[in-house]
């Protein structure tokens, strides 16, 4: 029970842990299960080749820029496919009716020539595109039912340890009390106990010193509590709102290793990191219209869920998936801003990420692990200043700093200057 309440109280801190462990478990369950079941090397190699060469324009089961490739080997003659894939323009130029028809159907978009692919390679790709994977959901369903997080053993050990300490304390107290009673009875033998004792509250009220100290104590405890309460006003550490589109930083930045500044490109040049505009999303999601990655069934994040979120981008940006074209009907996404600095604070992302070379994670936390983004840092002035006091300035190769660094380090007698020594604690550097 104790363990449970601990989890509930600190759920915000613990839930990433739980999540992490759950996903780990699911991973460990999925990954050994080979998607293709048997050792079909051809399919494996075909998949690799498909991802390298074809995936930008083709899907296996759906139309994209080019046609769906599933069943292509049945629809077309294999020799024709070889020559088409190696140099489609030549085939079209030769006036081949199938080729010309295909060319016309897909808006005359020219397919890249792949002269480097051998017949075997193409066979492998076709083997992959023809392959229909077995449903692997059963294994996952089993995984979903296991709810107990792996870390609970740790809590149990801790709990047992705590109980042991408590028991020890109780035993000690018992012995001490026994000893005291014994001493008291020896003393009491000399005195006649007063039969008319005041009730304890009355005695307390009569003792002015006690009353005074209690009031003082209560006052200071109250003050301390009030201070604690006041100090957390306006601090939104852990703020984790539900966004209009369930965007998972974990999938993008964690699983797929996309650099933060690929999407948040303004962070390189501007004070704002910038919420990416939807055309940035479409750079990739024009082709990635389905989610095929790992799922978190415990939280309800299955493939369909993620795919639906991708559809939300299409709705917002006005992308007609069937016809592969923009409709022009847009619906800007109203994201909920998580990191809010007061108006009187000036913060510059470019200064921190480009000039100082600080990782985004230093302030934003393990974003690559966040399924739902939350505010990691308190964003208080104390937090800013602490970092400015401790961080050294990395001046390597920045000509702006060279002269001033030389002079200042001589003045302070240090090799490495902190931000504070450079003037990073001055009020108007951030407040104007």
């Amino acid at each position: 029970m104790n363990c449970f309440s601990a989890v509930r109280i600190n759920w915000r801190k613990v839930s990433p842990l739980v999540l992490k462990s759950t996903t780990f478990l699911i991973f460990s369950l999925i990954s050994p299960v080979d998607v293709f079941g048997q050792d079909d090397v051809a399919i494996q190699e075909g998949k690799a080749l498909f991802n390298t060469h074809c995936a930008a324009c083709h899907k296996v089961n759906r139309k994209a820029i080019g046609p769906a490739l599933a069943g292509a080997s049945e629809r077309y003659d294999r020799q024709w496919l070889y020559s088409w894939i190696r140099n489609s323009s030549a085939v079209i130029a030769s006036g081949d009716p199938i080729a010309v028809a295909l060319f016309e159907e897909y808006n005359q978009s020219v397919m890249t020539a792949f002269p480097q692919l051998s017949d075997e390679d193409i066979d492998n790709i076709l083997a992959y595109t023809d392959f229909v994977p077995e449903a692997t959901q059963t294994a996952l369903a089993a995984a979903g039912s296991e709810t107990e997080p792996g870390n609970s053993t740790l809590y149990r050990v801790l709990l047992v340890g705590l109980l042991g300490v408590l028991l020890l304390l109780v035993l000690m107290l018992y012995f001490i009390q026994k000893r005291l009673v014994k001493i008291k009875s020896e003393i009491d033998a000399d005195f006649q106990p007063n039969p008319k004792l005041d009730p304890i509250w009355k005695a307390f009220a009569k003792n002015q010193f006690l009353v005074f100290s209690a009031v003082v104590l209560l006052f200071f405890v109250g003050l301390y509590q009030l201070y604690g309460y006041m100090m957390q006003i306006g601090i939104d550490q852990g703020y984790q709102p539900v966004q209009p589109i369930h965007f998972s930083h974990k999938i993008h930045s964690g699983d797929n290793q996309i650099d933060c500044k690929y999407c948040h490109s303004s962070a390189r040049v501007s004070k704002h990191s910038g919420i990416p505009s939807l055309n940035i999303c479409m750079n990739c999601h024009r082709n990635i219209s389905q989610y095929d990655g790992p799922e978190d069934l415990a939280a309800g994040y299955d493939k369909e869920f993620y795919t639906n979120e991708i559809k939300k981008i299409y709705a917002a940006v006005g992308w007609d998936e069937d016809n592969q074209e923009y409709t022009g009907k847009t619906q800007p996404v109203r994201w909920i801003r998580i990191h809010n600095l007061p108006d009187f604070v000036y913060f510059n992302h470019a200064q921190h990420t480009q000039v100082a070379g600080i990782d985004c994670q230093t302030c934003h936390g393990p974003v690559e692990e966040m399924e739902v983004l939350y505010q990691y840092a308190p964003l208080t002035m104390g937090w800013c200043i602490e970092c400015h006091r401790e961080s050294n300035i990395d001046l390597l190769g920045n000509e702006y700093y060279q002269k001033v660094h030389q002079e200042l380090s001589k003045k302070y007698g240090v090799d490495q200057l902190t931000v504070a020594q450079m003037g990073g604690l001055e009020c108007a550097k951030c407040h104007y």
Binding site: V269, I280, W335, E407, G423, E426
Partner: protein, 1029 residues
Amino acid sequence: MSKEKIYWKSIHQLDGTNPELSELSNREFADKLPTDLYDNHISDNQEDQFSSRRDFLKYLGFSTAAAALVACDGPVIKSVPYVVKPEQITPGNANYYATTFFDGYDYSSILVKTREGRPIKIEPNTDAPDFYQANARVHASILSLYDTQRLQVPKANSRDISWEDLYDQTKGKLNELSQNNQKVVLLTNSLISPSTQDIISKLILKYPNIEHIQYDSIPHHWVLDAFEGLYGQRAMPNYDFSKAQVIVSIDADFLGDWQLGGYGSGYAKSRVPNQTGQKANMSYHVHLESNLSLTGSNADKRVALQPAQIKKVLAHIYQNICLGMDSKDDQIQSIVSHIIDRIKSNPNRSVVVSGIESSEAQSMILSINQSLQSQAFLPNEPLYFKKGKANPIEYIVEGISQGEIKGLIWNGVNPVYSSPIGDALGGQIQNLDFSLALTTVYDETSKLAQLVAPTSHYLEAWNDYNPKPGYYSIAQPTIKPLFYTKDFQQILLDLAEVDSNHLDYIKNYWETNILDGSDWNKALHDGFFIKEDSNLSDFEFPQLQPIERASLLSAEDAPMSLILYPKISLGDGQQAGNPWLQEMPDPITRVSWDNYLTVSISDAKKMDLVNTTNSHGAIDGSRVLIQVQNQEIEIPVFIQPGQAPGTVGLALGYGRRVGLKKEMHVGQNAFKLLLNNERTQSVTINPIIGKMHEFACIQLQSTVMGRGEIIKETTLEEFNTKEKEYYNPVVHVSKNHLEVSVRSDEVDAWRSFDHSTGHLFNLSIDLNSCTGCGACVIACQTENNVPVVGKREVRRSRDMHWLRIDRYYSSNDTIQEDQKKAEETTWFGQAYSTFRDLEKAAENPEVVFQPVMCQHCNHAPCETVCPVAATVHGRQGQNQMAYNRCVGTRYCANNCPYKVRRFNWFRYNKNKEFDFHMNSPLGRMVLNPDVVVRSRGVMEKCSFCMQRTQKTIMDAKLEGRQIRDGEFNTACAQACTTGALVFGDVNDENSKVAKLKKSKRKYYMIESVGTKPNVMYQLKVRNKDKNES
């Protein structure tokens, strides 16, 4: 029997039987407290209608609790990114676009700073070779883009209609009138756009009954006629004052609005003592006028004369220089011979200019300058800014009344307001078959139109200009039209049924007629284009003919002459709805939110007119009724030192009412007195007894009272012959009864800051080249989100300008005399009388302008008294003010010797009590997102444009390089049209400001206090002989 004395406050008190009074005297407040505010239900019982104090507390408690509960939930802030982000826009970074400002009254090549697609500031386009000096009105024009009073949709008889409807109705009417061959007049301001002229000719081709008339609210046709008569081209002569050594300006306020102004930068170049060889050299400037103008204030010798006298002086100078005759007029003999002596000392480096409204006078000016072969006179580069002929409105009114003109289309003009016969025109417009107003705001004239087409603001529109031969500029939109508006030219194109949009039309026009194969994109990027013009090289001076002089020589002065003038802030009143300009103090009088009759000290005495100061430091003025022929205006009086006796002045551009927020309904319309379109009128003045007008004047002290530590000045002779210690001594203070220099460490109570590393920002202000134009004031207001507080608050000295331009008069004829007198004062009683004398400005005083902002003291008195350390010193020399830390004790303001700190008495944004631009979401779009909008109860002041210096440093860091001189700039120094303000890093030895710091003219204001400021002044040198004052 002695009777007790009775003291009474009002004569009504003497009447003991008045029951109201006896009751009033028993009550503390005249009205009952409005306790029933909270009680909505009406009870039969009279007593129940008032809620008790207990109720009040209940409501109070409930609302506090409710507010507290609501406050528990933080606000959810939404962030909406672009769907498709434009490539050039990076949120957080500014973009700049080159464009051009022209409204028929001001012209300037400018850069527009935009943030996230919205224009927020006007900056000079210093790449342009000419016309890049933007004055205060141009700087403020950005706010008119976000004017809530702007017209948003087309209207027909005050009802909203669609553009299609408007076009249908207009075309129908135009066709009908064209078929009947009935005249339609297209009335515009002076147009200098070549492509617009072309579009208008297309329109006239389509409707041959249209006649195009150009109209200037303040006429310039005299100078156009004169120039045309001599040089055959209808234009205004151009001058380059930087090449002049002797400048004679005869009623020509060329630092103000004379010939569109913009001569300040050239003038200032010749006014800074230029050390070449042994002796420093600067130009000599003599100025004749009746009102005290900006130009008169800057002159070395200013002569206040009545208008007819001025005309005579010009005629005599002309006689002497061009005809070789001596003058024989006793009254003006000395000034004429003085001017002629000066001119003859250096004839081809002399220039004479005049604003006298007669083509003879203007012809004389051309003849004089041509005979002098003046290098400053550029008739081969004339200015095309003004096109208007004489009396266009009279022509239209007559045409309508005689039934010749049946239709009127107008754009960019407001003649019902700005013409003396505007009322007659207003009446006639209603008799027209067809009237169409093309306008951005509803004004006096467009209110009367049947059809109103909203035109785009200049920051939303395309345009092109040709201000002088070979110089072309482009105006490009910096934002999509905010409302359903179209370019003026687009409307004409649509009416002429030319199937083209305005941009394509301009582009085509330029490619065929102007560019000569050059790149359009480059011209657009630069904002201007220079083309070889045959006019420049082939110019030949014609033979001069004698000019008829009798009209000038025989001019007689009226007993009292009224001289109408445009104010620096409002000009001709086109931007009367702009709160920045309304609140900008006039450089001379320091009065904002008003126009007034300027009266000389002696005339005021004669007529018993007074200016009084009331207990909270505001100025009140007598009111008068002035009459010019049959026009009457009731106007307050402002007593103006330097006003020529027998003359009074009145500013144009005020008194507009239609299309203005209520707060801007100030002043009286002086255009009604511009009879025969002449600025000089004979006037009678009748004082109104008892009524005093309340001014919003921000400077009460009008003289420095000989305090040489505030203003230092010397003469060119002393500057050249004496040591620096003589004319610019360092202040000495007493230590152990010994005199020690205040700059010595011995007398310093402070531990000094080490400023040797990094940047140290300094600002140098040259009193010689500062003309007081006030562009910096508005630039600062724009850059730093300085609020507008309104007339009532300015009157209480609660103006918020971070940068003010103090104007000081001398109480003797010169400030130096004042100083001597003050220094010679030895004992207390004498000091009392001396200083009382020094307080009063002289009849014709010398004037100094001194821009004052936070001096960024290295030993700042404000910092030591702040109980919460909200204002602290930075290593870069900036005195930093942390608003979020400030608790509003105002100790700092009390301890500041320069009085540059401003306190937010109210929340000036989102507050309906201050219904200026910050009270509407539209108006707030002008705010600079890099500067916080201060809240109530917080002290604020100049930050040395911290956001700009930090941005410059940031750019250098990102590019990994050192900062070049000139990169650091404050808004004021950037806006300075004359280069008087120079900002930079003094730790960079090669920087301009570091050199100025070593200048002989450098001094610090009130240096004896030991504040060690980072703002330095360059003392004023006047070019005058010992024997003349």
